[in-house]
Symmetry: C2
Subunit: 451 residues, 2 copies
Amino acid sequence: MESNRDVHHVVVVGAGFGGLEAARKLGKAKERVKVTVVDRYNHHLFQPLLYQVATAVLSPADISAPIRHILRGKNTQVLLAEARSVDTARKVLVCDGGELAYDSLVLATGATHSYFNHPEWSKIAPGLKTLNDAVAMRERILLALEAAERETDPERQREWLTFVIIGAGPTGVELAGALSYMTRHSLPKDFRRIDTRKARVILLEGLPRVLSQFSEKLSEDARRDLEKLGVEVRTGSMVSGVDEQGVSIGEERIPTRTVLWGAGVAASPLMRSLGAPLDKAGRVKVDASLTLSGHPDVYVIGDVASLQQDGKPVPGIAPAAMQMGRHVAKSILERLAGKPPEPFHYVDKGSFAVIGRGYAVGTMFGKVPLSGFLAWALWAGVHIAYLVGFRNRLAVMLNWFFTFMTRGRDVRLITGAYAPRLPPFSPTAEPPGDGIHAGPDPAHSAPPPIH
Amino acid sequence: MESNRDVHHVVVVGAGFGGLEAARKLGKAKERVKVTVVDRYNHHLFQPLLYQVATAVLSPADISAPIRHILRGKNTQVLLAEARSVDTARKVLVCDGGELAYDSLVLATGATHSYFNHPEWSKIAPGLKTLNDAVAMRERILLALEAAERETDPERQREWLTFVIIGAGPTGVELAGALSYMTRHSLPKDFRRIDTRKARVILLEGLPRVLSQFSEKLSEDARRDLEKLGVEVRTGSMVSGVDEQGVSIGEERIPTRTVLWGAGVAASPLMRSLGAPLDKAGRVKVDASLTLSGHPDVYVIGDVASLQQDGKPVPGIAPAAMQMGRHVAKSILERLAGKPPEPFHYVDKGSFAVIGRGYAVGTMFGKVPLSGFLAWALWAGVHIAYLVGFRNRLAVMLNWFFTFMTRGRDVRLITGAYAPRLPPFSPTAEPPGDGIHAGPDPAHSAPPPIH
């Protein structure tokens, strides 16, 4: 084995959009650097489509790709490990099971949800950041419908058919739209005792409008179209309580068995080990060249970086992370060549949120507002283009095509142990109806529960 | 809602190949019967391709379809529930959460693994019957490779790179072939510190030959081709011990961290509640018309039925279950018309086991032996044809095409919490090599473990 210990060692933590882009670009400079990518998962995840896994359109493998495979054959090593802390004095990254010495460090560990000082809500209202999250959310949604189908008490049945989504940023809006579409168009014929079209999908937002990163006009468009899809949109509604029986908004109570979390962002806790100033979401305040103040060899990018540009924060979205990743790779190579660092400049090429089948809102180049089918087509094209791997692109297109044509939701898997969560059902000498009817058959009284 | 309580109520337990076929056929006799299908999962599973989920070729959703969706729009109700016992006197099926009264009952609950009086082995050596099983197996295989890549001790590294499969029936043979192919052809370029081509895949079988349901000639063909793929085939090897450090065969010990179970069949425990004679695998001995002796209204089909025909047992495979399902549906309708029951006659159309890429062995019509590419092509065609749903067929074909062309294994997801299972790694100021080399860099000594 050839010894190249004098080659500059870059450790990249996190193989999301930012980290992967940095590693790919550094991987081309084979003679000058070697790269180690550390991630606690073995796959890169295309997070913007996670809500489609949660709503049974896509499979986990459609939106993820093995990191080793993406970076195979380059001057790059991949280590499946969890980063625990950074020791900037010794220049090592401390992980479970060992330490990595670095010459340059790129921190790209991303964000998790924040429950606003209510960590106890996390068990009741799952968020959407990992594949496990998405599969768990899918299972909750599908189980709620199965429970409603079994339920004999009309009031509890309504609770099972009520879905509350907290937070009307892109994740919350996309989830609400997809869920409402699914209950109204994909599933009605599959159930006998409930009418899934009567399911309530309630989107709660503390701020005065949905998608508040966009203009008021676009927020209005989004709200109108969500409502057209059957979503109950409630802005200015600050949630004060979440428990297994429902959600509280001040004095008001919404009884529900299914609460989904689309709010709050907290930077990865690794950032706290840096001893650097953090913003209130736990992000590291970086200087213009994306380095940690006083540490030109430590770069912080993507959702864990806090950076103002032209008086506005650079948003925590994939395109910004990718631009940062490329910038940092270039900076490292230039630093090795003795050049001074250049400031990062974010170019807003656009951002969109999908409302429903063939409908999205967003802006291009930070200014041009778009809504409707054209926005959706742009969104779809860009997402397909940025998916990693030809197989994934084809699989997603295939699934979208089927979903679009058949309105079906085919990835409807419940694989976990469900039984303790489902209610007793009525003694079915009961005939299946020919049509759809909500509520249990009044001719039957509820049986004594068996367990 | 129309009342049709005088219509004959058929309860089908289990939506596998047999149950689904019965329900579909009964679903066409709308005016004469109503059907309730009970399953503890919400999806029908195409079990013959489960090993391809375990070896990262297919996604869970590619080989499963929602039962509600398959049976939508028919005179059929679907209930997500676990059947607990049958009360033939009261003619009810007792489930978690309630009871179902039946006029006819079709038991099609399938089989699980048997650990031959060693239930403690089940945690160490997972079997392959459900999607959860397959995903857990996939995760174990992938984690073992990650552990080997991190491992600094050469001996432990060899243990991580040793895979033992117990049982050389179709499941074990197909798993062993796919796993050996994966380590030899799909993954070598993705790792830096280990050579996955040196992984050992050991197939253990207590009987004198593999695939003992086929002729000696076919067993020989299968063995030869498994060995060509790099599998170590050891027949006549009765396993006496399985623990987390390895497998014992009498005095001999094979150190390994990954043991996969492909042996033993035990009928679903529901059968014990019938008070009927069972065979030693727990299957119900049925009469020639597939009913329980003395209970013409209770049908038992598929892997839970024990039936001799022409001096041989009807095999526990999908085609037999489907034929039984159709026969039972016909019998129920004929009984309603006052006709006497006809005996079931199994027609052996063929059965195959895949050894590797483009290679299978098997027989057609119970007699014509086939091996090689033609057998594989027949296997592939039949499996595609019997998959439920056009989307699934297309998805499986797409994935097979990619796997065949690229030799890739793209569904390589580890989503669980892995960290406690992985060994410490060496302090990597260590350079990634350009080629593949087995074993840790001898220039480095192992660091003190961190946790």
